[in-house]
Symmetry: C2
């Protein structure tokens, strides 16, 4: 069931970091296309996508030589080439499992349909939800998951269930033949080799922002004191062992001897 080959082998040498930026370029190009701009330079496109122009040119060079020196890139031609590289010139039926607030938001999200993704089914374990119309289609019971996947040739599943249900849903999707999963549930999923999982975690993004925000606010470091004896939801246990030998409070990890 798993292929046993790594990503880098599979992807004809296009770096992951580049793949992750292609949709950005595609979006910027689509905007130019809608404004009927015929041609764009790497400098302009890079600015529109929010990246460095050298990086843009290097990224595009992995796809082929699609620009013209002295002129730039033909917008429509590049839209097509990136779409093809990303696999967006074909139709991808997806199934969304879990139709709470987030699942409903995803079902209604226009960005899917416009890019070759077709919502083949909306599924939920709650019988009260089955039959409810969301984004123009009736929610089906998750019991039908296997048949829906097989009948529609679904290879991409979107998980918007509570954390507790995510792994079981994943297992069933994978057993039914799904090989790519977009996970919105706050859990680490275990999947067999050959199955790709991407994770979107709302709270993690906020936590990363909080980290930087903290550095800006007080500037410099958060207090390096012992933890308080009592705090919100934190037990006294943490006050316990602090390695007595630790001389770490004043070290500078950025300055290490070569």
């Amino acid at each position: 069931m798993a292929t046993g080959r790594s990503h880098t082998e599979r992807t004809r040498g296009i770096p992951e970091a580049t793949v992750a930026r292609l949709p950005l370029y595609l979006r910027a190009l689509t905007g130019l296309s809608e404004r009927s701009v015929p041609t764009v330079s790497s400098e302009e496109l890079a600015a529109a996508a929010g990246v460095n122009s050298a990086k843009l040119r290097k990224d595009l060079s992995y796809l082929g030589s699609y620009g013209t020196r002295g002129v730039g890139y033909d917008v429509e031609y590049l839209v097509y080439q990136i779409s093809r590289e990303l696999g967006l010139t074909q139709d991808w039926p997806v199934v969304i499992v879990g139709l709470g607030n987030l699942g409903a938001a995803l079902a209604n999200y226009g960005g899917f349909a416009s890019r070759g993704f077709r919502v083949a089914a909306l599924m939920d374990a709650d019988p009260k939800l089955t039959g409810k119309m969301i984004a123009g289609q009736a929610v089906r019971h998750v019991d039908e998951l296997e048949s829906v996947v097989r009948e529609n040739g679904v290879s991409i599943g979107v998980i918007a269930t509570p954390a507790g249900a995510a792994q079981e849903v994943t297992d069933r999707l994978v057993d039914a033949g799904v090989t790519s999963i977009l996970n919105f549930a706050p859990t680490v999923l275990t999947v067999p080799e050959g199955v790709d999982v991407r994770k979107v975690d709302l709270s993690i993004e906020l936590q990363i922002l909080a980290f930087h925000e903290q550095r800006k606010a007080g500037d410099g470091l958060p207090p390096d004191a012992e933890p308080p004896a009592s705090g919100p939801g934190i037990s006294g246990a943490m006050v316990r062992r602090r390695p007595s030998s630790a001389p770490k409070s004043d070290r500078e990890p950025g300055v290490q001897p070569a």
Copy 2:
């Protein structure tokens, strides 16, 4: 308004990649904590977080020497240290702008409140939404944005508006004093230096999955033929110029001369 200093200077040398993983570790540790596990080894914690144990130890070493050789890490103590490093031991009032499906999902998302984030206000430009109760609070009109930010000391804004409104909302948030933005709108935002933006893009995640899926399905490469004369939503213009000199169809980008 901008500090003019780069991230790396500001963050006491903790690599961005490490910062991005700390919330993962925190989540895994919280799970252990709830199960009253007192101590965990780097091997176990790494498995729970889905990373390599050497990477975990290196990441934690940036925070200090919080483990005990031969024993492992004290779960509660590490929870506290990571929380503190991420700035989660303080309260972060956030404002959510845009209460369509996604905004409502975010407002209802429990993961925020449990980690020091407090939803100070829900705001929308649609007068029909103002006053509506979502997640226990009334939606307010976006006209009040500046006063809400100032009165609550909001430094983090979450944008869940349509793409067209995102930049204006951003400008207003920034003018009012917000210095971190979590952007769910499918647009590149322009912000002054010193303001952090993180972007969550649902359709981009799916596109990355499609790329890998394509490689699995047909295996190997998508057809490298000229684009079709007509295709779904693609104009004939793209058939135009293909550089005549391009000898690229058979090159191997992975094998470059050193």
